[in-house]
């Protein structure tokens, strides 16, 4: 991947542009959030806030204790939806090319992706309605 890019870059330096853009967005997102939370967020301290952050668990005690079962449910939902993303990779390698050449096929591909995401959304809304994302 990098070597292909390097070869293209020898001919036209602008081929690196997407990579540069990605790096800028990545750094910008992280830095922007940090700065924003410092500027906008309220500054209150307390004994809870001083503790080490451990994904919402109390960091003190035996490490081998049982986790709340909600962790597993959220992890499973995440696993399933995360893996569906894998289907977008083959789609994404074809879509820009088709969009650039003949439009009707590009539109149909877009509709296919929308149907796919729509079906996933139905499952997501069902899980939401079922109260899977409620933590209390």
């Amino acid at each position: 991947m990098i070597s292909i890019l390097a070869q293209q870059a020898a001919q036209s330096p602008s081929a690196w542009l997407p990579v540069v853009l990605l790096i800028i967005i990545g750094i910008g997102f992280a830095a922007g959030n940090l700065i924003l939370s410092i500027l906008v967020g309220p500054h209150r301290t307390g004994s809870v806030k001083e503790t080490t952050y451990e994904s919402g668990m109390m960091p003190i005690g035996d490490a081998r204790r049982r986790f709340n079962v909600r962790f597993y449910i959220v992890a499973m939902i995440f696993l399933v939806f995360d893996v569906e993303i894998v289907f977008f990779y083959p789609w994404a390698t074809l879509f820009p090319h088709e969009l650039a050449t003949h439009t009707p096929l590009g539109l149909q591909l877009l509709i296919e992706a929308i149907v796919f995401v729509g079906l996933l959304l139905v499952a997501y809304f069902y899980a939401w309605g079922k109260g899977v994302f409620r933590w209390d």
């Binding site: 597993y72 449910i73 992890a75 499973m76 696993l79 399933v80 893996v83 894998v86 990779y89 083959p90």
Partner: protein, 102 residues
């Protein structure tokens, strides 16, 4: 130093698969047993990718995507079931469940 050829990839795939199979048959901890089936699926995925490269077509890669998704779906189902079972008996030993016989 020789080039990596097809058989090396197949070797890794076969080793993963066999480790998974042996682990599945010998271990009695539920989570480890499910991990072993995942290992078997990963062996398959390596096989498919290697064959796809060897035959110069994309069918193997397409297959791999689906194998990964199937493995993930199976894992999430299995983990859900393990949580359910653990709540009932407070153990992960597969031999603890032997109500159904005959």
């Amino acid at each position: 130093m020789t080039e990596l050829a097809l058989q090396h990839y197949l070797g890794v795939g076969a080793i993963l698969f066999v480790i998974g199979l042996i682990g599945f048959m010998t271990r009695r901890n539920l989570i480890v047993m499910f991990l072993c089936t995942e290992l078997m699926f990963q062996g398959v995925a390596i096989n498919l990718i290697a064959f796809g490269r060897y035959h110069q077509n994309l069918a193997g890669q397409a297959f791999t995507v689906f194998v990964l998704v199937i493995a993930a779906a199976e894992a999430s189902l299995a983990l859900g079931l393990v949580v359910l079972l653990f709540r009932q008996k407070n153990t992960l030993d597969a031999d603890a469940w032997r109500e159904l016989r005959g």
